[in-house]
């Protein structure tokens, strides 16, 4: 199979990740709950993962919180910062993981930046709304549909200038874009463990400052005589038993990233996305391409996007079609009715993948007389 759906999850994982999961299942008990060897081993796995994440994202290990996915982290972040009736600024490229919690809380939404690949427009749009006054901002680092890399460092500076707390959704950027929690000054950055960080599904990280409200309440292995959640991190946000095998795998994924370097991974992905975008243009489909694009490319053909994705699947190529859980992004770009086919490269990005995809699309075009 040619796997080009890394925006959903990274399918190829280093062998070290699989070995780490198995090792943890065979050797680890509950971390932070006992003084015996297996509990201590589990606790060392957990701390090791926090340490690696803190090195990759430039933050204190105790401010690395384990979640079950990026959506979980975003829910904690959003519910910590934002109360009913608040004015909240989001980008025009948000995922439902941001939109739905905000709608559920009942906020007044402002949408900044709807033009793809245009940093000047993005920044002026964000500044306009920030100047008008908002209570918080939540924005994605990279659009999951179009691969647009937003100027998060500059947006973060604007938020700080206007004294607006903010959350960054790093679902598509963690592991392939530089992220420094310390430099960005975000209140929260949420990310999945199973995409660019190469861990197993069911893992995620939330980087956070001190001010936070738990989403789950329960045992933490600390301050057990108290009836309220501990007031310190990470315990405040980690009620219940952690996913130690998952965290062990995530830790191995982080180790791989620290060794290889996110810059190298990013350039490999973007190079293949560039080749793919050019090839798609030659085939005559509408490609959403421009400066500041990640290793993800979306396109619209004359065929139904789901039908085309199914044809590719039948030819052994995995891509994702539809709205990608991001209706706002599709409305911003005008593809809400058609949806798009999304091609997203990952750690194993290689020329053979682009070649096979383009060859397959060519075959479909020849056979169907349409694309």
């Amino acid at each position: 199979m040619i796997y080009l759906d890394n925006g959903a999850t990274s399918y190829y994982k280093p062998d070290s990740v699989k070995r780490a999961v198995l090792w943890a299942m065979e050797n680890c008990a509950n971390p932070g709950r006992g003084g015996y060897e297996q509990s201590n081993k589990a606790a060392h796995v957990v701390l090791g993962c926090r340490d690696r994440a803190s090195r990759l994202f430039n933050c204190d290990p105790e401010h690395v919180v384990f979640t079950s996915n990026c959506t979980h982290g975003l829910n904690i972040a959003i519910r910590s910062l934002i109360k009913p009736g608040a004015k909240v600024l989001i980008s025009g490229f948000e995922h439902n993981a941001v939109l739905r919690p905000l709608v559920d809380i009942g906020v007044k939404l402002s949408i900044a930046a709807t033009k793809l690949f245009n940093w000047d427009d993005t920044l002026s749009s964000f500044e306009k709304f920030l100047r008008q006054g908002v209570d918080a901002a939540v924005f994605t680092h990279v659009s999951n549909v179009f691969g647009y890399v937003l100027p998060v460092e500059e947006i973060a500076e604007l938020c700080k200038y206007y004294n607006v707390p903010f959350v960054i959704d790093a679902a598509q950027s963690a592991g392939s874009q530089k992220i420094s929690f310390g430099d960005l000054g975000a209140d929260f950055i949420a990310m999945p463990g199973h995409k660019g960080l190469l861990g197993p599904q069911g893992t995620g990280l939330l980087l956070c400052k001190d001010m936070c409200e738990p989403l789950l309440f329960g045992g933490t292995g600390s301050m057990s005589a108290e009836t309220s959640m501990p007031d310190f991190l990470p315990d405040r946000l980690e009620a219940g038993t952690l996913n130690v095998p998952g965290i062990a795998g995530l830790s191995a994924g982080l180790a791989h990233l620290l060794q290889v370097g996110t810059d190298k991974i990013c350039s490999r992905e973007v190079r293949q996305a560039d080749i793919c975008a050019e090839g798609l243009k030659e085939l005559g489909v509408q490609v959403f391409d421009g400066e500041h694009r990640s290793g993800t490319v979306s396109f619209v053909s004359k065929m139904d996007c789901e039908e085309l994705a199914q044809l590719l699947s039948d030819m052994g190529i995995a891509v994702r079609a539809g709205l990608h859980c991001a209706p706002i992004a599709h409305r911003s770009v005008g593809t809400f009715n058609s949806g798009t086919v999304r091609v997203s490269f990952g750690l194993d990005a290689s020329p053979i993948q682009s070649k096979r995809l383009l060859e397959s699309l060519n075959k479909i075009k020849s056979k169907r007389k349409i694309l």
Binding site: P31, L47, P61, S222, M223, D235
Partner: protein, 84 residues
């Protein structure tokens, strides 16, 4: 044998303390905090050699590792909370 216990509010800072001490060539044992040492229940401690108490505390402070209390355990088993 006389030794010192340094208590922490949870396993995370205790482990970070353990890492820092070992990196500096100081031996320690990560243990569950005895119930009588805990005010708020469930925590972890590092058991260290009493002679190293001062340097351990200094290293924790230098590395922003928050600890709760320090107890001196005497040869006869009696304990005393140390004021720093």
């Amino acid at each position: 044998m006389k030794n010192t216990w340094i208590t922490f509010r949870s396993v995370t800072p205790a482990q970070r303390g353990e890492t820092v001490l070992r990196r500096n060539g100081l031996s320690c044992i990560l243990r569950r905090t005895p119930r009588w040492m805990q005010e708020k229940g469930c925590g972890y401690s590092l058991q260290i050699r009493t002679i190293n108490t001062e340097v351990c505390i200094r290293l924790f402070r230098e590395n922003n590792i928050e600890f709760k209390k320090v107890y001196l355990i005497r040869d006869n088993g009696s304990a005393e909370e140390m004021t720093l």
